[in-house]
Structures are given as C-alpha cells and as structure tokens.
Amino acid sequence: MKARLLVAAVLMVAIAGCGSDSGSGSAPSGQMVMATTTSTRDTGLLDTLVPAFEKATKCSVKTVAVGSGQALDLGARGQADVLLVHSPAAEETFMKEGHGASRLAVMHNDFVLVGPPSDPAKVASAGGVDQALQAIAKTKSPFASRADDSGTNAKELKLWEAAGIKPSGSWYIKTGQGMGATLTIASQKRAYTLSDRGTFLATKNLDSKILVQGEEQLQNPYHVIVVKHDGTNVGCAKAFSSWITSAPTQTLIAGFGKAKFGQALFHPDAAAQ
C-alpha cells in the first residue's frame, strides 16, 4: 500500500515536473528574472513592456534595474534569465565568454550632454562632443560622473578618451549612483553630465538643459541577451527575446513617450537585422 502511494507520488511529481519545464511543444511559463538598466526603469518603459509581455505569455517577470555592469554580472552568475542592456563592449565580452545564448539589437536612444542653462564652459557652441569636454576640462567646470560601471558611465569614459582627456580633480565629481540621482546632483551643483535622453526627460525638478546632442558618437544601443546558464528559465527568456524584437512590440517602443514627453525616447532597431 505504502509502496504504491510512493510510486504514485513519484509519478505525479515527474508529470508536474514535465509540465512546468519549458519542454518541447508546451508554452513557456513560470517566473523569469530580467536584469536591465536603470534607464529603462527610470523612463517608465518597463512599466509599459512588462505587463504587455506577461499578458502575451504565461511568464511572470521580475525585473532588477541596475547598471549594465551589474546586469551582465547577474547574468554571468545565472541570477538572471534575460538581460536588456546597453554596454556594447562589455556585452561582446559577455558573449565571447559563453554566458549568452543569443544577443539581438532591440532599440537605441541617444546620449545628451546636459549642463546648467548658463553654460559657463560654453559647450553648446564648442562645435562637438570632443570640444565640449575639452572646454569643460579646460575651465575646470564641475562635471558629474556616475562612476558606477554602468553603460552610461562606460560611454562617458570613452568620450573623455576620445577627447584626449583624463578627467580628474575636484571639478570631476564621481557620484557612484544611478542616472536620476546623478542628474539631480549635477543640477544642484551646476555641473555638466552625460545622460541618456530618456532619463533626462523623465527626471523631474532639474535646472539643467541639453547642450550637446545628435552626434553619431552619442548613440546608445540596447540589446536583449538570453542567458546561458544552468537552472535559468530559458523558455521565458527566449520568448521575451523574440517578443521584444517582434513587429508589434517594436511599434510599441517607437510610440513610447510621445504622449508624455512629446517625443519618442527609444527608436526600434530590430527590423534592421
């Protein structure tokens, strides 16, 4: 009798196990952890995308919004199932090290150099990002750096390098915090800073304005990466990757922010592949 019950229990567990697994044929389900960047949260994009994805599938999404560096780190340790990040160089290393199953372009937004409306270093008329950064360094005007290994921070350091400057000194303020907090600090300290356009538009109570924008160098591409690691929810991760690059979602992304900010914050890229 007891033995029979045991067999029945084992069978039931086995069957249940098959059902919840992303086995062949059945639709993926369960909880999925998405590690993404603070910019997708701070702009409100996640609040639009996540419910739509959950409605379209049987997956429930837990999002962790951190810097791109930490998001990739979470992926490498198998703590996240899917990543939505913008740090191309670090992403390529991530893929090379075998942590990712796939990496697809999703969208891009752009970086802007913002600063006090009075523009003491006259960066608006400097003639480009390189010249703008050189003017900031030359006049030792305060510049707030996130200094947090985020995608934006990586971009900022690259831009300094391109401008031929090693920023240091008391004018170079390292906040070690996210984009919203850094924009607030920059505004209060009348400092310049590099921000993605979306977070700058979405952050309230700033006394700063966009001074340099629109250059090729300032593009900010986002990729979706399906993490390759034991124990991850591959089914949902793959479903998310194909869902976010699908035509309807790309249209959703293209329209995001138009009502609230009067302009699109992200530009879809998946069609170009």
Partner: protein, 222 residues
Amino acid sequence: MIPLSVALVWELIGRTAVVSLSATAIAMAIGIPAGTALGMLRFRGQRPVAAVVNTGMALPTVVVGLVVALVLFRNGPLGSLDLIYTVRGMILAQVFIAAPLIAGITMAAIQALPEELPDQLRALGANRRQLVVRLWLEARLPLLAAVMAGFGHAVSEVGAATMVGGNIHGQTQVLTTAIVEDVGKGDFTPALAYGAVLLALAFAVNAVLTSVQQRGAAWVQS
C-alpha cells in the same frame, strides 16, 4: 578585480568618523538637556511632546534625508547656505537622526531615578544646576547607553548620507554609501571589506564609551 586602496579605506574611515562623531556630539548637546527637561518637568503638553520624541527614536533615516535634502537644495529654503552635498550637511542630517534617540533614552533614564531624589537634593540645598548635574551623575549609565545608541544609529545609516551627501567620491562618500555603491556594481568583495571596517569602527567607539560606562558602574558599587 581591483584591489582595495588602503588610502581610500582610511579616507572613508576618517570621513565616517568625523560625520557621525560630530553629529553625535551635537545631538548629545541637544538631546541630553531636552530629555532631562522632559523627564523632570511637569507641564501642559509634556505627554504629547514625550510621545513625539519617542516617535523620533524610530525616525526613518530616508525620511530625514529627504526632508533635509529638500530644505538644503539650491532652490530650497536654506539653499543659500550651500550645505547640500557637503560633510556639514550630512552632519546636520545625522543630528536629526541621533538627537531624538538620545533625548528619548535620557528622558526614560531621568524618569527611572527614585522619585523622591530631586526633593531630597533640593532639601540638601542644591540649586537647579547642582540638581541636574547630580541627576546626570546618577543616571550616567543609561545616559552613555543613549549616546551609544545615537552614534550607532548615525554611523549605520545610509539613506540620509546618500540623499544629503550624494556619495561624491573624495568629498562626501562614507563607508555605508560606499557599500551600497559597490553592491550596485556587483562588486561584493570591497563591499564586505567596508562592512567589516564599519563594524570595527563602531566597535572601537563603543569600546571607549563602554569602558567609561563600566568604570562608572564599578565606582557606584564600591
């Protein structure tokens, strides 16, 4: 992995100690007299005030940080003082965090003294100042506990230090905000190391205060 910079660790220890010890000292200067007055005097509204002080003991540090930051912002009421994202601004915020604790525990300590003690001291001819000093001496053990609690709350908080200080490297970064930053970067090794250093700092300060306290205790028993 980047090895820990010893110079940076010392810088963080120094700034953390300066901020929290200064805040505790100022909070003592406010909290002990205020708590004593609340414990000794009977006046209309004493109870509600005591309830407010006791609530202040549970003041969330992020709320303190938020309010102090809003007041100190450039366009805030005290923006012209230029205290936002400075060490002095952080000290101010931590005073609001430590002072209610010190006042609340002081009040309880004074009220725990024998009820007839003030009258006896007055009968012996003590004036008000002598009376208060005598009461503080009698209550010195819980008073030192109050100071330790105030320091402990100040040195361990991260919400106000982040919002008012801004975690600016080389200027306002302290051990707690450095820990949060490193965790944000997924860099757990230095975060753990800073945690250990923070504990060591708290231990050192409390060891000094405890030795003072226990010497006082031994003196009472002899």
